[in-house]
């Protein structure tokens, strides 16, 4: 069974929109948090902080930008951009990418993770408000008229749009899936596609996730679920506090992370540089509650153990864990309990980092963005810090690499992603020499 190597990485996240900038920022312990007001007028809303992709410019997509014009599909733009960057790193240019992917002997797949599409304000005005009678009831006749005209914004509701555009642009012909596994979706998309390659369903795949819910309806939904930090007594970059006693919820993030995966033999045959490996995926269902994990982290335990089994590794082989680490009271204690069950307590378990302390929670893209960050940390020989961890929760008693990065000869990382609905995914990633 072939091993699966990473030959391209692309990212758009609150720390930047190119891999090296992001790698440097994560090691420097920078935060991508800023005012929510940069996204919309939130003067009547309690949530003050968000982690946005800085100075995003659609023109970064090059000629593909025209396909997103007028759509308001920010997350799709992130996704296509990150995939484009990953493909260029793997193959050198768009022309060479097309030549490899569309070759008759190549089977190339797509597995991307995308979240729920929430309405834009402008879309709500044209498609809903225009159809409301003064008393608030809905007028179907009016709605048929309002919806009759073409509107490029509606295309954003197809979550397979990025897959479609990648297939149109580069000629993919293998499996093509959109993963809707909530906050575990990015990790599961990567690990599932790695299995395709091991099992011969395809030779290579573009995998990852993209998400943007930093708009009024998106953040309102998360607030109603009680998931967001409402902290206002500190500066923005101190709001996200995973594993801290004073944590009170996550900071909403956004972005995309994309990888090019290839079978080791396919990559070797074309002389590709190996950036890392995907060794295993474990998934599980909590079957517990919609928005809360079981306190003992049992579902996380099953996912982590399954990932180790697929990778053929023992707990002691894992050098570092990139935690789900949202900063919600329930997640962080349950995840810690799960890590203790699999790896042992402090002194036995490997160091643990929450990237969300710096970049917030990118929801469906989180696992993919954090997979890129994990591969960069392994490459750079330095474990990124968990920011803002000044007052550790007694229930969170592991080594969380607080505040500053730590040099480490780490070979294998475990990256956790858990989602609402009790979906869990754990990825085992390896340094290029593993």
């Amino acid at each position: 069974m072939s091993r699966v190597v990473v030959t391209g990485m692309g990212i758009a996240c609150p720390l930047g929109v190119d891999v090296e900038t992001v790698a440097a920022a994560q090691q420097a312990g920078l935060s991508g948090a800023g005012p929510m007001a940069d996204a919309f007028d939130n003067s009547a809303f309690e949530i003050r902080t968000a982690c946005r992709v800085p100075e995003w410019d659609r023109s970064l997509l090059g000629s593909a930008a025209e396909h997103f014009a007028g759509c308001g599909d920010r997350k799709g733009e992130f996704g296509f951009y990150a995939a484009q960057r990953a493909l260029r790193q793997a193959f050198g240019s768009d022309e060479r990418t097309r030549a490899v992917i569309s070759a008759p002997t190549t089977r190339a797949g797509l597995h991307t993770a995308s979240g729920l599409v929430s309405s834009l304000v402008a879309e709500g005005e044209t498609d809903v408000l225009a159809c409301l009678r003064p008393d608030g009831s809905f007028d179907y006749e009016a709605s048929l008229a309002a919806l009759a005209g073409a509107n490029p914004r509606r295309s954003r509701h197809f979550t397979d749009r990025v897959n479609h555009l990648l297939a149109w642009t580069y000629g993919f012909d293998g499996p093509s899936l959109v993963n809707h596994g909530a906050c575990a979706a990015g990790a599961v998309a990567i690990g599932t596609a790695a299995r395709w390659i091991r099992q011969g369903r395809c030779d290579l795949a573009v995998v990852g996730g993209f998400e943007s819910m930093i708009h009024p309806f998106g953040v309102l939904s998360f607030q109603l679920l009680g998931a967001l930090s409402e902290r206002t007594d500190c500066v923005h970059h101190e709001v996200s506090r995973p594993f801290d006693r004073q944590r009170d919820g996550f900071v909403i993030g956004e972005g995309a992370g994309m990888l090019v995966l290839e079978s080791e033999s396919f990559a070797a045959a074309r002389g590709a540089e190996v950036l890392g490996l995907v060794h295993g995926l474990g998934t599980s269902l909590d079957s517990y509650r919609t928005t809360a994990p079981p306190p003992d982290g049992r579902g996380a335990v099953v996912a982590m153990q399954a990932a180790l089994a697929e990778a053929g590794l023992r707990p002691g082989d894992i050098d570092w864990i990139n935690a789900h680490g949202t900063g919600t009271p329930l997640n962080d204690s349950a995840e810690t309990a799960g890590i203790r069950t699999v790896f042992g307590g402090r002194g036995q378990a490997p160091p643990v980092t929450s990237s969300k302390s710096a970049i917030g929670h990118a929801v469906a893209a989180a696992g993919a963005v954090e997979a890129v960050l994990s591969l960069l940390a392994l490459r750079d020989g330095s474990l990124p810090p968990t920011l803002n961890l000044h007052d550790p929760d007694p229930e969170c008693d592991l080594d969380y690499v607080p505040l500053v990065a730590r040099p480490a000869d780490a070979r294998f990382a475990l990256s956790n992603s858990f989602g609402f609905g009790g979906v869990n995914g754990s990825l085992v990633l390896g340094r290029a020499d593993t």
């Binding site: 797949g109 729920l116 295309s155 993919f172 093509s176 599980s284 079957s287 989602g419």
Partner: protein, 369 residues
């Protein structure tokens, strides 16, 4: 890999046997539809579906979207009850859940009151963020976001059945049900689980979804709702011989264009069907095909199918059920299982395609006794 149980909720009937019986007697599930001012000449709605009476946990019904309710019904039927781990004598952590469900467009009913409460008092054609975060928020049912999270159908099915094994939650493409099936087959092959519940569910009979379907060019089929689920394991009288997934080359940059136009005349479809039949290693004597009532697309499909089955019946279910979105591919598989069990066919190819040009194909065969 064997089919150990099947569950269906379709416009032809509530339950697998009711749906199959309806199919075999030539019934149509399409009827005029009228609700809340939405008038449709024909739509496929699951008849006699009363979730509060027919689902195991009536209190949980209000937490579920229509898709989730349909999927739970089908999944419970496929598993023969709500506790498959006990019935099968396996650890619940060894039973996986793999599902495709349609969610791209939030059902209007979930957000209407919030929008009404968010109008600008001075200009009701505009949204006011001040109003959204006050009266709009007050009118927004906190349960609504949970209903519309994209993996909630799988969550409710898993919670009802006590599934704790591996999972895959996929989008609303009609081919996604077969992709979920492929994920389950791979998980069983890898020994990641001992049993897998595979499902697809969709509810297309809703104003906004209808509109997006139309915008995507799905004009050849009537809108429908439904769910289908399979329990896969190591024993059963129908075997899944092969599942293959692929991608057609879109003719343009927008997803809907794949419904009617691909740039290769169906060549990749043909190659995929050859590959899945070759892997299966049996002579196909029936195809339940990815036919939509779209002339060019259907032409490609028929030509591709005849390369693997030059003669023999080709069934199309959409003319009598409508388009069940993410449920459709697995409904066709459920029908194939029934036809094999009743001796109507020995080796069946089921095909499905989606809006992004994604393709799936599965071959099933009856087990000789």
């Amino acid at each position: 890999m064997f089919v150990a149980g099947v569950g269906v909720a379709s416009p032809l009937g509530l339950g697998w046997h009711a749906s199959v019986d309806g199919w075999l007697r030539g019934a149509s599930g399409l009827r005029p539809f009228s609700k809340d001012g939405l008038e449709l000449a024909q739509a496929g709605v699951v008849p006699d579906f009363r979730p509060r009476k027919q689902l195991p946990d009536r209190k949980a019904v209000k937490l579920m979207s229509r898709e989730a309710q349909l999927l739970v019904y089908a999944a419970v039927e496929a598993c023969g009850g709500t506790d498959p781990a006990q019935r099968l004598g396996v650890d619940p952590e060894r039973i996986g859940g793999f599902a495709a469900a349609g969610y791209e467009v939030t059902p209007l009913g979930e957000v209407l009151d919030m929008f009404a409460g968010s109008r600008d008092p001075l200009d009701p054609s505009r949204l006011s963020l001040d109003a959204l975060f006050s009266t709009g928020r007050a009118a927004y049912n906190p349960l609504s976001p949970l209903k519309t999270l994209p993996n909630m159908a799988l969550f409710h099915a898993a919670l009802t059945l006590g599934l704790r094994g591996p999972h895959l939650a996929l989008g609303s493409s009609p081919a996604a049900g077969l992709a979920a099936l492929a994920g389950a087959v791979d998980a069983l092959d890898d020994d990641t689980c001992d049993y897998a519940v595979v499902g697809g569910a969709d509810a297309q009979v809703e104003l906004f979804r209808l509109h997006y379907m139309e915008e995507a060019g799905v004009v050849g089929s009537r809108p429908a709702e439904g769910a289908a689920a399979l329990l896969l394991g190591d024993a059963g009288d129908v075997e899944i011989l092969a599942v293959q997934l692929g991608q057609e080359p879109p003719a343009g940059p927008m997803p809907g264009e794949a419904y009617s136009v691909v740039s290769d005349g169906g060549a990749r479809r043909e190659a995929l069907y050859r590959r899945v039949v070759e892997q299966a290693g049996c002579a196909v004597d029936l195809v339940i095909a990815d036919l939509w009532g779209l002339p060019q697309r259907d032409g490609f499909e028929r030509r591709a199918v005849t390369t693997v089955m030059p003669e023999g019946p080709i069934l199309a279910t959409r003319p009598r059920l409508g388009h069940m979105g993410a449920a459709h591919g697995l409904f066709d598989v459920a029908l194939a299982v029934a036809l094999i069990q009743r001796g109507e066919a020995k080796c069946v190819l089921v095909t499905a395609g989606g809006s992004a040009g994604d393709l799936g194909a599965v071959v099933l065969r009856g087990v000789d006794r």
